[in-house]
């Protein structure tokens, strides 16, 4: 309970501030509230749906199975699988580093590890959902189509740069 209270401290303060502004007719407070109201309606209009879809994806798609098929000899199929695997994840980029370690341990190529990071950072499905909601489908599709060849290239360049002595270290939190 106390933890929730702390998490929502800013929200509670903001509600108090808005109610206060309304009561005393504080103009800037009202403008800020109307900004917030607009953003809030925008958010609540699709984000909850998105999370239902993400939850269902999570239980239906077997990620462990995909991880096994991204090894050094995996070629185009490996690239495809590693991108698919990345698309099914969620969270910030530093959350992808431990997965990169797991992929490395399972024998993924340098190229595929960095393609994974690229796809993770810019093609996660939950994120694409939010991107469509906020910036529109055209923006999202164009950005994805432009990014895809670029980070596949980055994978190949990284392989050239770091070469065969590359390894991923395990970092304990």
């Amino acid at each position: 309970m106390k933890k929730h209270l702390k998490n929502y401290m800013w929200v509670i303060l903001f509600v108090l501030f808005s109610v206060g502004s309304y009561l005393i007719g504080f103009k800037p407070g009202l403008v800020i509230y109307s900004n917030f109201n607009e953003f809030f309606i925008e958010m609540i209009s699709f984000i909850p749906f998105l999370f239902i879809i993400i939850g269902l994806f999570d239980v239906w798609v077997p990620k462990e199975m995909l991880e096994k098929h991204v090894g050094r000899e995996s070629g185009v199929k490996g690239i495809f699988l590693v991108i698919l695997l990345a698309m099914l994840q969620a969270g910030p980029l530093y959350g992808a580093f431990p997965v990169a370690y797991v992929l490395f341990k399972k024998g993924a190529s340098v190229r595929n590890i960095f393609i994974y990071l690229g796809a993770f950072s810019s093609m996660k499905l939950p994120m694409l959902g939010i991107e469509i909601g906020y910036l529109g489908i055209k923006f999202t599709i164009l950005r994805t189509l432009i990014s895809l060849p670029l980070f596949i290239c980055i994978g190949f360049i990284m392989e050239k740069i770091v070469g065969s002595d590359f390894k991923v270290e395990e970092v304990k939190a």
């Binding site: 929502y8 800013w10 929200v11 800037p28 403008v31 800020i32 509230y33 900004n35 917030f36 953003f39 809030f40 925008e42 958010m43 209009s45 699709f46 984000i47 909850p48 749906f49 998105l50 999370f51 239902i52 879809i53 993400i54 939850g55 269902l56 994806f57 999570d58 239980v59 239906w60 969620a90 969270g91 910030p92 980029l93 530093y94 580093f97 960095f114 990071l117 950072s121 810019s122 939950p126 994120m127 939010i130 909601g133 906020y134 910036l135 923006f139 164009l142 950005r143 432009i146 990014s147 670029l150 980070f151 980055i154 360049i157 990284m158 740069i161 590359f166 991923v168 270290e169 970092v171």
Partner: protein, 161 residues
């Protein structure tokens, strides 16, 4: 825009739930619970960022955003977007409302694309952590290449949108 989103996402969600239910009821319930939990976890950082944007936008007048990030900002706008995007550590998730707000206030698609892409792919703050995983050479090379990619993405997006 708002209600077309509700319609599209609602329709997709409804269909997914129905298909999932016909295949396996227990898995569906588990999926709904997982989704709900993830939503709850993201809710308070999300609300906080919306509050912050609401306040900041009140203090930054539109003409200022248009001047620095709008159509005539050129390389300057790209530079600001790339710099801020590279050092900030807002999860991609939460940065979208900010991007949408910037667009509404007059920033260009190209600048927003650079901002979003650097935010997602380049991490100066997380660089020390990345070095621990991949070593100095690989971490710095990855971030540099991604920064270049972000600018290419921005230029192409500005041209295509």
């Amino acid at each position: 825009m708002v209600f077309s989103n509700t319609f599209i996402f609602g329709l997709l969600t409804g269909m997914s739930v129905l298909i999932s239910l016909t295949l396996d009821k227990d898995k569906t319930v588990l999926g709904l619970k997982k989704g709900g939990k993830m939503l709850f976890n993201i809710l308070h950082p999300f609300l906080n960022i919306l509050i912050l944007i609401s306040i900041v936008l009140f203090f930054i007048p539109d003409p200022l955003i248009v001047h620095y990030l709008g159509a005539n900002s050129g390389w300057y706008g790209f530079g600001i977007a790339a710099f801020v995007g590279s050092i900030t550590l807002i999860p991609g998730f939460i940065s979208y409302p900010l991007a949408a707000a910037l667009l509404k206030q007059g920033a260009t698609y190209a600048v927003v694309a650079v901002f979003m892409t650097t935010m997602m792919m380049v991490g100066v703050v997380t660089l020390p952590l990345e070095i621990k995983y991949f070593g100095k050479k690989a971490a710095i090379a990855r971030n540099t290449l991604n920064l270049i990619a972000a600018i290419i993405i921005g230029i192409l997006m500005g041209w295509l949108m």
